[in-house]
Assembly symmetry: C2
Homo-oligomer: 203 residues x 2
DNA sequence: ATTATCTATAGATCTATAGATAATGC
DNA sequence: ATTATCTATAGATCTATAGATAATGC
């Protein structure tokens, strides 16, 4: 093999990697970084423990890989907020995208929540390097809309925090939400949050 | 000792129990149920491992004791919501109490969040037996205010969820909040949330 | 020939106990 | 006398490796 040529991963290799990462998402999001064991990963992936360690150097590498992939997914909906769009429409669309993610990607939401809850030991650099610049940019956009009188005056930072917290709540605190509201209340949540932010931001 | 007479715990016993539980709150909230080790508990409490097990039958009992105590603390601010008070004042006061708790009891907030995040394996019965009835009662109170035209029409359940999520966010996602907003932003949070719920609930 | 997988197990970490000793309260 | 604490370590659990075998791709 020539110098510097990357070894092309086989199709089986790629498929098994995905299999392991998907199993790991389930296990890590349900039991936490420390609660997850190689036994559980192997069981969930339908592989032996040594086989998992053939694909990843260890439990920690699997976890870190998962979190790195997640960061991109997590930034996407904020990136889509369009400075040239209608301000109110853009905000409500962002709320809806985040709520869709709470519904469709609850394991990812809980994985992220667990990491932040414990002080972001693995993700802290990502937060500073990737999330912070995007956050600042979008805060600037929102502040611009406020200054132009197109949104009611608010602190953009806290607006974004409240959008994150209210939407992710339905994924992260799912058990509690179920106990308290009986049914799966995502339709009601959508109506409520739409009203909440519409009233908040109307000039 | 007569039949059925409880053995009176000595003063040292009570003090050491508290010492252990306080250390455990720090360790469990920072590392999760599985991430916390007896070594860390002993270190944090300044005691030997066997001494800790002299006071509690094991790690699990310490964790459960912590969560049981927490449930009461956690219900308190909701219990204070007064059906005879002024509706808007009561709602905003509740928001402020919850935000005070995020500031003053962040470890408790994170301990609770971690437990719910992992499906409430220990607290689920408490949620059903203690939280649900109180939640339903207060939802009824809020619905009464809405029906009487004293609050704007909203679903009380989602209102409460949004108060919980927006306030606890400042404790549970503290690291992220710090990275993104630079300073400790609790004064700004108070103003923002006051405005948010005032606009939401104004008739 | 190389890649992918397994069984068996070594080594590390963590929980909990055995057994001895010191401190406290009648 | 009882309560509280310690050192040393047994036993359980978990991560990772050794070494052999099966499957895949030139």
């Amino acid at each position: 093999m020539p110098d510097g040529a990357a070894k092309k991963p086989s199709r089986i290799h790629q498929r098994t990697r995905h299999l392991i990462l998907d199993a790991a998402l389930a296990v890590f999001s349900a039991h936490g970084s420390r609660g997850a064991t190689l036994d559980q990963l192997a069981e969930a992936a339908g592989l032996s423990k040594p086989n998992i360690l053939y694909y990843f150097s260890g439990k920690e590498e699997i976890h870190v890989t998962l979190l790195n992939q997640l960061m991109e997914t997590w930034l996407d909906p904020l990136e889509e907020m369009d400075a040239d769009g209608d301000p109110m429409t853009e905000q409500l669309a962002y709320v809806h995208r985040k709520l869709d993610m709470a519904r469709d990607l609850p394991r990812e939401s809980r994985l992220f929540a667990g990491e932040i809850l414990q002080g972001a030991p693995r993700m802290h650099p990502h937060l500073v390097a990737d999330l912070k610049p995007l956050f600042d940019e979008k805060c600037g956009v929102i502040q611009g809309w406020v200054d132009a009188g197109k949104l009611a005056p608010i602190d953009p930072r806290h607006l974004i925090f409240s959008i994150w917290s209210t939407t992710q709540h339905y994924a992260d605190f799912d058990v509690q939400v179920r106990v308290l509201s009986g049914d799966t209340p995502l339709e009601g949540a959508r109506r409520y949050l739409d009203t909440l932010f519409r009233r908040m931001l109307s000039v």
